[in-house]
Amino acid sequence: MAEATLSTVLKKSGKDIKASWARDLAAAQVSAKGRISAAELEQQASEFLNLLTKVAEFARANDIGASDFRQIREFLEGVSRSRAAQGFTSDETATFIFSFKKPLFASLKAEIGKDAEELVEQTWKATELLDSLGLHTIKAYQKTREELINRQQREMLELSTPVVKLWEGILALPMIGTLDSARTQVVMENLLQKVVETGAQIAILDITGVPTVDTLVAQHLLKTVTALRLMGAEAIISGVRPQIAQTIVHLGVDLQGVTTKANLADALALALRRTGQTLKA
């Protein structure tokens, strides 16, 4: 029985394998970066060995999706998560599993001895199992990273759309970065909500920080302006750079009926005039 052999080897010479593996691991990971303590690595190594010994006993097929593997899967997911958080690369994370092969194969060899055929078969079985475990670890690592990216994207979305009150009845929205549909939606909702809260009459959309304006972005801007008008507020678009003005005209986007200004100062001056407020020098 293949699994039985793997399991017997693990049981019999588990201590030797672990000692040798821990040495390899320590050499490969701790010395390089010092991001994980030797004690932690040692603890992870022994837990992995325990769990592997458990599954090697009764696992028939090398199907790590089976419920028998749930414990070891969860353990590996936990390891990848912490590795990703500690800033390990994907290959460093995978090395944790793959470096287990060397001491394991050495023990298998010692156990089986001269029977080459049996040795090859057992080695192959062990390789298959460890590979799938390693791949699972990488998958979990990838997932963690993707979650991180998604979260950062969401945070950026919220951070990059502040609505500021410039004056009594005047709001400004300094837009920075590329405007896509998702962002415009958030921007629009934030702005309209703020208009309701503050009762502002004029909102200035400042596009100084928007690198390019194409038809889609122009469309989004027009939508926001229209929504503002429907709610009874007025919109001024400011920060139109010469390049952008040229693009808008070349694209044939109709900005008629939308007040535009070259900079925020002009827009504020206009807004003050329209709300009937004056500044004393």
Partner: protein, 127 residues
């Protein structure tokens, strides 16, 4: 049967939509309102939709229609208190309601109506 009340305040008519509009109700409002404008010779109509949370293309068009009818009957019509969600929906539906005057709340709407009517008054009697 449900009915949307039309309140008369001097020269103005005040319509507050506080229930979910369905098509039949909207048509009835259109009818009642045009009759009321004529009956009271109102100079301004203020439609408050601050509690309206849902809107479809029919209701959107109806609001624009009411505004147009008011104008023909000689009353300035102003739409006040549109919620952000409603505004976004209308924009996404492609209904920008051109020619419909809007204001943020009833108070501001009244102010604009008064100003517009005052301007109309001076137009009639130049000098």
């Amino acid at each position: 049967m449900e009915k949307i009340p039309i309140l008369r305040m001097g020269d103005f008519l005040l319509v507050t939509i506080q229930i979910d509009m369905h098509d039949q109700l909207a048509l009835k409002l259109q009818d009642d309102l045009s009759n009321a404008i004529q009956q009271h010779a109102s100079k301004g109509v203020l439609i408050d939709i601050s509690t309206l949370e849902m809107v479809d293309s029919f209701i959107g068009r109806m609001v624009a229609d009411i505004s147009g009818m008011g104008r023909i009957l000689g009353a300035q019509t102003i739409l006040v208190g549109m919620q952000p969600a409603v505004a976004i929906t209308l924009v996404e539906l492609g209904l920008s309601l051109p020619g419909v005057a809007t204001a943020l709340n009833v108070e501001r709407g009244m102010e604009i109506l008064r100003r517009k009517i005052a301007a109309d008054g001076t137009d009639e009697r130049p000098g």
